[in-house]
Symmetry: C2
Subunit: 243 residues, 2 copies
């Protein structure tokens, strides 16, 4: 199953015709960006809707003095801002984490699809809604969880999102983030992140080696992270697979 269709079908069931319409988005020009390159900067005026086809990217913001915060991860099948056409200045930046390829879709195509197929419009809206819910969960993460819990939570989110798109195995998945990236996502320094990661490892909860994440104790991990998957709006059947 390809992550693009499933990212939409996770939200609504599609008729064959609708699925075909969604698939047609893949005809939009494909743009490749090397790893670690910023593809969209705060202040830019984005002119197309982007649909991530391959690779991982992240949203980030930075402060004048160089402090940086990753505010979200983009996985294959994710849109970068469906509502972007309405906005004239990006409030944040987006960079490739790995080499990526995205489809550059003219906003009119999105509008047309949404107009012709109300269920697809709903799916787009839900996709945006989930992105926002994720932001809120991250706010809780940064504001009220400690480093250990935060990292546990982040790993679980990655694992759950990948599994929902069919890209994870039973208890492992890709995770191309460096400790530096993880530190920028969890709001700690990389030194402290390193120590926190060792603790997760020592506790037999999670291991990360050669860009691959291994969940060693799923139950205890969800417990220490106080992970409640409802914010991801993953359907019942998918959530069921979690057990």
């Amino acid at each position: 199953m390809n992550p693009l269709v499933s990212a939409i079908e996770r939200h609504v069931e599609l008729s064959p015709k609708e699925r075909e319409a969604v698939e047609s988005l893949r005809e939009a020009p494909l743009v490749r960006v090397p790893a670690r390159q910023t593809t969209l900067s705060e202040g830019d005026n984005p002119r197309v809707v982007r649909l991530l086809s391959q690779g991982w990217a992240y949203r980030f913001k930075d402060l004048p003095d160089g402090r940086r915060q990753i505010v979200g991860l983009l996985l294959p099948g994710d849109f970068f801002d469906l509502g972007v056409r309405l906005v004239d200045e990006m409030d944040h930046s987006i960079a490739a984490l790995t080499p990526i390829a995205y489809h550059a879709i003219p906003p009119e195509t999105i509008d047309r699809l949404a107009r012709e197929y109300p269920r697809i419009a709903d799916a787009f809206a839900r996709h945006e809604h989930v992105s926002t819910s994720i932001h809120r969960e991250w706010l809780l993460n940064l504001g009220r969880r400690n480093a250990f819990e935060r990292l546990a939570h982040l790993f679980l989110e990655i694992f759950m999102r990948l599994r929902a798109s069919g890209s994870a195995r039973e208890r492992e998945c890709d995770c191309p983030l460096t400790q530096n990236d993880l530190a920028d996502a969890t709001g700690v320094t990389s030194v402290h992140l390193n120590r926190t990661m060792q603790e997760l490892r020592r506790e037999g909860l999670v291991e990360l080696k050669s860009k691959r994440l291994f969940i060693r104790d799923y139950d205890r991990l969800t417990q220490v992270a106080m992970f409640n998957p409802n914010y991801l709006q993953i359907g019942r059947e998918t959530r069921h697979l979690a057990q």
Copy 2:
């Protein structure tokens, strides 16, 4: 100028007919909620779109062990989740900060308005988009600013948002949050928040007394907060007033 119309008109210019259509939202039944009451809980299935007419509210999430994080403020004129009809489980809760009154609008009314008046649909979308941008700025706030900078930033956001809706004076505005609320919004304890607030006062930046916020040194405040108003998408003319 009433905050409802201006909240929409901030985003797009309306024709008299469009303005009338927006005004018609105020015919929706008005619901009153006493201060400090939770009006919508995580897990609930919201059936209407709510438009805050009077008073302040906040979004929050909490952890099983009682830690709580405020993830956003709702001011008069704000919608609580236009996209709510698409969702079957709230990912967060909403509570009244002061006594509030909101309009309970059937989702069909929103849909109809959006269908009939594309510019209003755009305004709705922008409103949602700004809410999301605010979440991202808060992520930066919690992840990378220290307590002093965070609080300075929060005060500026409140001031700027109120001023954009015409509810602030030159250098002061309402601010009904207790120190406990401010602590929950900035991710620190109330004791530490108290000390941070004293420092802001001592430095001659901001004062808060009897629920009223006084900006004592706007320039230095924006500087220490590293405040960049672009995320609020406040129009050029409004931003101009900031000086």
